[in-house]
């Protein structure tokens, strides 16, 4: 497995370090040449899975609010805004056909969303898209979510492809891997220590969703209210997951989606990962790919503004009409959510699935 070292990449315009997968230099704002990103992809020999390792990197950063330099103490040198840390915003693109963007949004002080992405270089051959959304009422959830997402990714990255086995056997095998990934994520989330002063709050907790695509077969697994959508180029889009939430239970009981999702209790999740989880075993669902399309895994920071499969498909279509590089599209979806108010953290993982 090849490891991508982030800080070895430099901006061709100003020479400062850039984060792998970033589209723009954090220092000078110059567009990062595709060769830099290609160099990352090229470090993964064909047939080996690529993943981007995200760690806080000491790069020169600019303030998102006023554009001045972020000082070494983490705050803007001009306006004092808290500088974006590597945990506040990062992007991954281990292969050209799959990418991920995670962002703190505007309102929350911490980014408790996390994601994971692992894929094979050949388009559509194999990818696992993962999102974990930390529960903000519990302590240290940003640590729990990142630990869980990475633990799940590391398990799913070891799936042995067997695309010629019968579909039912493939579903069984992938579901079993998702269950193992869920167990690893659950371990990571419950092992997260409670922060100081967090004794009164609940222990660290997060949601979990993954969508695994393997040669025209998609299997999704989830705990909580983070979602997976399959958005084909033709035909109706599908919401592959059913939230484990109070809202979903209301919908089940006959309340309309719009009413249920705007109710006060809508965001109360009924299942999660963490030491006090009532049931950490992922629920699974599957679908098959009949035409080219987009596989999207996201947190409620995105879908809150665009819940139904139809609405989500329409939104994604506005960005995919003229482009098919998933990174700028994922970044645009995140930016769109920020434009809607950015009330929550946002995690978007997106993969392009070809027709054949």
């Amino acid at each position: 497995m090849s490891e991508v070292v982030l800080s070895t990449l430099t901006c061709s315009s100003c020479g400062n370090a850039v984060v792998a997968g970033d589209s723009f230099c954090e220092t000078c704002g110059a567009e990062i040449s595709p060769s830099a990103t290609a160099a990352v992809a090229a470090t993964a020999p064909s047939g080996e899975r690529s993943m981007a390792e995200t760690q806080p990197t000491p790069v020169v950063r600019l303030c998102r609010e006023c554009g001045a330099l972020i000082a070494a103490d983490g705050y803007c040198g001009e306006c004092g805004a808290k500088g974006r840390t590597a945990r506040d915003h990062w992007e991954e693109q281990p292969v050209p056909w799959a990418a991920a963007v995670c962002d703190r949004g505007l309102v929350h002080a911490r980014n408790e969303d996390a994601l994971g992405l692992v894929a094979l270089p050949e388009v559509g051959s194999f990818a696992a898209l993962i999102v974990c959304d930390g529960v903000s009422t519990s302590s240290n959830s940003d640590v729990a979510s990142l630990g869980a997402a990475h633990a799940a990714r590391d398990v799913l990255g070891t799936i042995t492809a067997d695309p010629f086995a019968p579909v039912s056997a493939r579903i069984m095998r992938i579901s079993a891997a998702i269950e193992a990934a869920g167990a690893a994520a659950q371990m990571a989330a419950s092992a997260t220590p409670i922060t100081e002063g967090g004794a009164q709050s609940s222990p660290p907790a997060c949601t979990f969703v993954t969508a695994v695509v393997e040669r025209k077969l998609i299997v999704a697994g989830w705990v909580g209210d983070s979602r997976a959508y399959w958005i084909p180029s033709t035909g109706p889009a599908e919401l592959l997951t059913t939230d484990h939430s109070a809202a979903a239970e209301m919908i089940e009981a006959g309340v309309s989606r719009s009413v249920a999702e705007s109710s006060a209790q809508a965001h109360a999740i009924t299942r999660w990962l963490g030491s006090d989880s009532p049931n950490p075993v992922p629920q699974c669902a599957t679908t098959t790919v009949n035409c080219a399309g987009w596989l999207l895994v996201c947190s409620d920071g995105l879908w809150n503004y665009c819940s139904t499969a139809t609405d989500m498909a329409a939104l994604v279509a506005t960005y995919t009409a003229s482009a098919n590089d998933p990174l700028p599209i994922a970044a645009a979806l995140v930016q769109w959510a920020i434009g809607q108010g950015g009330h929550d953290n946002i995690a978007v993982v997106l993969a392009y699935i070809p027709a054949s």
């Binding site: 006023c66 000082a71 103490d73 705050y75 803007c76 040198g77 001009e78 306006c79 004092g80 805004a81 808290k82 505007l106 309102v107 929350h108 002080a109």
Partner: protein, 425 residues
Amino acid sequence: MADFNAEVFQNEFLPEGGTEVHAIVAVQCTNAGAAGQANGDAAEIIVIDASGSMEHPNAKIRAARSAAKVALDEILDGTWFAVIAGSNSPAMVYPIDGQTVPMARMDSSTRDEAKHAIDRVRGSGGTAIGSWLMAATTVFQSVPSVQRHAILLTDGKNESEDPRILHQAIKLSKGVFQCDCRGVGADWVVQELRGIATELLGTVDLIANPQHMEADFEQMMKTAMSRGVADLKLRVWAPQGAEVLFVRQVAPSIEDLTDRGTSISPRIQEFPTGSWGDESREYHVAIRVGAKPVGAEQLAARLQFVVNDEIVTQGLVKALWSNDEALTTRINPAVAHYTGQTELASEIQDGLAAKAAGDDVTATLKLGRAAKLAAATGNDEATKRLAKVVDIEDAETGTVRLKRNVEKLDEMALDTASTKTTRVR
């Protein structure tokens, strides 16, 4: 090399729409070394009042002579020094022979010569403190020292010169040397000496009994010699659009620094704090920032302590907007304590000023409020000094009665010590 450590005490949580951020920064200096050892020389001048009144009673001039000699014993060898006697005009006591500069390097022979010269000082004439300060400034600037300190002793009011001369002299001396001021007896003006000490980053105190002068001079010079850090500056960085409401030293005594800042960049103001030994001081900083949405975090101030243009320690003051009332309504104990101590100082000073002006109603009210604050903030020393000027009937409500026949010295003691604070318990 001295070590510095800054620690910030604040409640960083602001309610929705909140804009005012308060913080106390405590700075500790260790391994300061001794004056004149780190970089460049130290210089000391002892200015003693040699006006006619010092001879009445002559215990004052005798005490001044022996106190000055004791102070000389504390000055480290190699330090530049001089002794000036002040009356209607300043006179060099030592050195006076035909040397190239009006200061001498301390060694055993110059120390002995200076002591003999001090023995010949007699009192006559008036008090013109401005001229003494000007002389000290000139003498100090004759040698290339980086750390200059003076002790100034007087027993009287500055009545032998135009008050504008003193004002001008303070302006010229500012930044040249630090000055600890002492008044002996009851005939000097607290306000006058405090004005000098405040501007020249020194202390002011009353020597009620001339017998205590030796010990006081010894202590002052010991402290000066232990200050191995010549010049520490406090830089306050505030974000674009923010306003620095005030910057105030609050421990060991209250000094308002707000108007003493110089702008070194659009965001940064620099405030002088003088020389440092192994000690700790605390500062209260208040900043007004623009309100941000609930959940947002921003830096309200960087408090940087600087020696020779190098940041030796830094404290961060933060603002975090929250809709959790349990967080936003909490007042930090250090901020509350020093806010109370600052009020206490001004109530004492205003109360005494009102009393002197014959406004007993205001005096009673202010000193009553002072008694209440002293009790509430646990400043027992202040309570003790207040009790010599007023009868405290109920400290909790601030009910006091002005005493009849108050000793002038007791009032002066209350006034000079008004800015001394107690630490947070």
